[in-house]
Each structure stands twice: as structure tokens, then as C-alpha cells.
Symmetry: C2
Subunit: 321 residues, 2 copies
């Protein structure tokens, strides 16, 4: 699909929380944290997801005019109703722009990228703003040291438009698979009809993030590897053709697996996990925005967005930037 990413934005909350800061809260050493999660520090936001996302969105729009669609592609909403896209629009100062959310936890951005490309391809829209904004630190369970030491806050945004005939830019390939047999490996059980807040059986822990990290890693590594091989086979590209692998920053180990198992050169895999942690759905676009802003990613580069998320799902998108 002939689409072009014409704008990129990033919001990093100024407050830094280090592994030293959280070690006493989870009863583990700094060494344990670095080994298990690979997260040296993360940002902690004092503003909510809508304001964070709007700051990233504003940078992505860069005065290039209003979008004609706003898609929220985050892991956790601001509130149950209305959906977060409405609040982004309010913070951006717009009125009347259609907006909705796409949700599949950590893969929301990759799924939204393909969906937005289809909506442009069908001429439904011409300038789509996708925003991913997550406050992972808001739902940490300090009784679960591994996941609590992973999560961070951040937001990123992109603008997608139709590519011009002279542009190389396109979305070349997209794939996604969801495995509900692994649905309970990563959860926030509260917040909906299942463990409703007014239900006396709902516990505080039900409203916090829980993950069986080792079990997820084992399945995720296998499924992502399969999907990567299939993508290369179908598209005819080789690992060496990919200029940048932009993975979900699930954990230090998960990002390293694209090198050790995936066979990609270390310098081609964009990793921000050590500095920013796992920022849920914002991780993928934050990694992308970071490498665009420091000028590693250049026009014409071949990008592989890839990762897994709660569901359990695996997804990837091969994009000519």
C-alpha cells in the first residue's frame, strides 16, 4: 500500500526513576532488576495519557495541517468511556475530527499502522494521526517484581498520508496472529465487565498488571521467529536488506532475541528498553521516533516493525520509509 509516514512525534516525561529507586519497593537488588528486565531507568509521567499523547501528536503534525482521522493505539485507556482518542483531540484543540481507538495491547501501534494504511488505500482518509500513549507505571504491582521493574511511561505519534508517485514509501507487508490459549499469561483483569469495580470479589491486584514473563518469552520468541522467517520468504527480502528492526521493547531479553535468535546485526536493532523500559503500546513508536530524531533512520530505509503483546499476539509490518 502506497503510504508515507510524513510526521513523527515523541513525548518523554521529564521525571526519571532508576533501578536504584525501585529496588527497595520490590525487595530486589539493582543487579537482579538489570538481569531480569534490562531496564536501568524509566520515565514516570505526572500528566495523564491524553496530555502526553497530544504533545507527541502535536510534534508529529508539525503545523502541517489538521489530520482527518485520529487513531488512539494504546494499551490502557484514560477511562472506559469515551475512548482516549476524544481526549487527544480535546488537548490538541480540534473539534469535529473523527476519532476512535484500536486496541490489542502492546501491538496496538502495529495493528493501527496497517489499518490506517488500508483506510488511506481505500481513500477514506488522507492524513491520519496515530498516537500511542501509555502510563505503564500507573498499574504496577510491586508484589510482582519482574513486571513491576519493566514498566515505564511515554508517548509517540506518527502522521500517515498517501505516498506520491515519486515516493518509494509504502507498507510492503503486514502479518498478525493471536493465540488465545495464552490469554491469561499477561493481564489486567479489572477495568471491565469481568472484574467490575463494584463487584465485591474484585481485588486491588485485579486492577494491576500481571505477567508470567518466562512463559510469555518462551512462546513469543518462537512465534516471532516464525513470523519473521515467513515475512522474509513471502516478500523475498533477506535479513541484510532490513535497515532497521524496530521491536516492541518487551524486556531486555526480548529485544536481544532479535539478535541472538533472529539473526539481525546488533546495530540494526533499535533498543530503548534500558533507558525507558516497556512502555506498553507506546514502545514501538517511541523506538521508531527515537531513531528518526537521532537521524539513524533515513528516507528509503527498509523498516521491520515487530513484536508480541498480551493476547498473546505476534505482529509485524515491513515498511519502506
Amino acid at each position: 500500500m502506497k503510504i508515507k509516514i510524513t510526521g513523527v512525534g515523541l513525548y518523554l516525561p521529564p521525571k526519571i526513576e532508576t533501578a536504584e529507586d525501585i529496588a527497595p519497593k520490590i525487595g530486589k537488588s539493582v543487579e537482579w532488576i538489570i538481569e531480569k528486565s534490562g531496564v536501568n531507568e524509566r520515565r514516570v509521567s505526572i500528566i495523564d495519557v491524553d496530555q502526553m499523547g497530544a504533545l507527541a501528536g502535536k510534534e508529529a503534525l508539525d503545523n502541517g495541517g489538521k489530520p482527518d482521522l485520529i487513531i488512539n493505539a494504546s494499551g490502557v485507556p484514560k477511562q472506559t468511556i469515551p475512548d482516549t482518542s476524544t481526549f487527544y483531540q480535546r488537548e490538541l484543540g480540534f473539534e469535529g475530527i473523527p476519532s476512535f481507538s484500536i486496541h490489542c495491547t502492546c501491538l496496538s501501534f502495529i495493528a493501527a499502522l496497517n489499518t490506517a494504511a488500508s483506510l488511506i488505500h481505500s481513500k477514506s482518509y488522507k492524513r491520519i494521526l496515530i498516537i500511542s500513549s501509555d502510563r505503564g507505571t500507573r498499574g504496577r504491582n510491586f508484589d510482582e517484581p519482574e513486571s513491576a521493574s519493566l514498566l515505564g511511561d511515554g508517548a509517540a505519534a506518527i502522521v500517515i498520508e498517501p505516498a506520491k508517485s515519486v515516493d518509494e514509501s509504502e507498507l510492503i507487508y503486514f502479518d498478525m496472529k493471536t493465540f488465545p490459549s495464552c490469554a491469561n499469561l499477561t493481564e489486567v483483569r479489572g477495568g471491565g465487565t469481568h472484574k467490575h469495580p463494584q463487584d465485591p470479589n474484585t481485588t486491588l491486584a485485579d486492577n494491576l498488571f500481571t505477567m508470567d514473563g518466562p512463559a510469555v518469552y518462551k512462546i513469543a520468541r518462537k512465534e516471532v521467529y516464525r513470523m519473521m522467517l515467513k515475512t522474509m520468504k513471502i516478500t523475498g527480502f533477506k535479513r541484510e536488506d532490513v535497515d532497521w528492526v524496530i521491536p516492541h521493547q518487551a524486556s531486555g531479553k526480548a529485544v536481544d532475541a532479535y539478535i541472538s535468535t533472529g539473526g539481525f546485526a546488533q546495530e540494526k536493532v533499535v533498543s530503548i528498553i534500558s533507558e525507558f523500559g516497556n512502555c506498553v503500546a507506546a514502545s514501538v513508536p517511541m523506538a521508531f521516533a527515537t531513531a528518526v530524531k537521532d537521524k539513524r533512520i533515513k528516507r528509503g530505509d527498509l523498516l521491520l516493525f515487530i513484536g508480541t503483546g498480551a493476547g498473546l499476539s505476534a505482529a509485524c509490518a515491513l515498511v519502506r520509509y
Copy 2:
């Protein structure tokens, strides 16, 4: 876009709750309820949204083979993570089918319909299952009689495939607008990062549905009317050409406005509000499924899906069935 709705499913929970049943809970008379909400009775589900949605989804699939994408298009999720589409898939007994959620409250189904049509148009998928399943009764605030007397439970599903060249079927037109200046008129403030359950300032009422009905009605009626006129103007159809208006069942008054203000003949407006109440995002596909199953809607009919939802958003889709 050349798409065809090839399957329809409906799940109605067996338990009926009448206006008489809830009158004492909200301290109002049956007459007051009928006048304000237009809801004589609603269904109350004892199974959760994923099981309800899977029952509707199974009927829509009708042994015609597995879908290649499952979209959840509901107002309130089963839980925060993972998204509800995963749980539908688990209940349907599938594994490996990509799935995600589209959320814009009561308009989730109409937005998902257009998105699914684009995904088929771009050849990303060939058989998409859209499921809307909501348990509005789970979040009722009995201290707010008007909204509490409106909500009901239900689920409906459709299957969308590419239309064959001999088929008349297509999605002719889609429009949507979101007005964040009205974001606070319809809310469930809890369930996300804004009023997090672990925040001591979060109240029980924050987790319940709240709506300024008269304010919503005033704005919604005007915006929907404008959108309907614009749709007729752009597509060249007249009101008489539309065989069936399938509105969101916001309230008795809101459905009647398509006749009194909208100028459509009463017998063309599908109304299920009196029997089933406002079932959030499930209302639109439930009304559609009801009129397909009782054989009012026939192949080749011109359908206008239309409504408003929290956001505040207005949307419509003109479909040749």
C-alpha cells in the same frame, strides 16, 4: 467498497428485567421510565461479554469456515488487558486468528464496519468477523435514574467478505465526526489511568455510567440530522430510497427523532429500544440482526446505519445489502 455482509448473528440473554422491576430501585414510576427512556424491558446477562459475543459470532459464521480476522467492536471491555477479541476467539475455539478491538463507544460497530470494508478492499483480509457485545446493566448507577433505566445487555455479530462481481452489495458511503467539547456529557471515568482503581480519590460512582441525557439529545439530534442531509446530498439518494434506517438505540426519543426530525417513514426505522433498551455498541448490530432474522431486511435493500455515541461522535454508513 465492494463488500458483502454474508453472515449475521444475535445473542439475547434469556433473563428479562422490566420497567416494573427497576422502578423501585431508581425511585421512579413505570410511567416516568417509559416517558424518559422508552424502555419497557431489557435483557440481563449472567454470562460475560466474551461468551455472549461468541454465541452471536458462532451464528454469524454459520459453519461457513473460520474468519481470517476478528474485530471486537464493543463499548466496554471484558477486562483492560488483553482486549476482548482474544476472549471471543478462545470461546469460539479458534487459535492463531489475528484479532483486535475498535472502540468509539456506541459507534464502535459502525466504525468497525467501515474499517473492515477498507481492510477487505486492500486485500488484507477476506472474511472478517465483527462482534459487538455489551453488558450495559453491569455499570448502571441507580442514583442516576434516567441512564439507569436505559441500559440493557446483548450481543450481535456480522461476517464481511468481498462482494462478487454479480453482487450488488457494497459500502456506498461512510462519515464520522467527533466533538471533544462534549466529552464529559457521557462517561465512565474509571477503568483507566485517569481514575485508577488504586487511586484513593476514585469513587464507586467513577466506575459507573453517567450521562447528561438532555444535553446529549440536543446536540446529537442536530449533528445526526446534518450528517444525514450531507449523506443524501453527496450520494444522490433521497430519503425514500433508503429501505431501512438502523439507528443506535440511544433512547426512545432518540430513535423517534429519525421519524420526527429526520423525516423517515416510521415503518422504515428499526426500533428495538422498547424491548431491549440501550445495549451500548451492540444496539446497532442487534437492530440489524433482528430485522434480518424476521426477514424485513432483504438482499439488495439500501441500509442507513446511523447514530451517536460518547465522545461525542456521530457516524453513519450507507450500505447496499
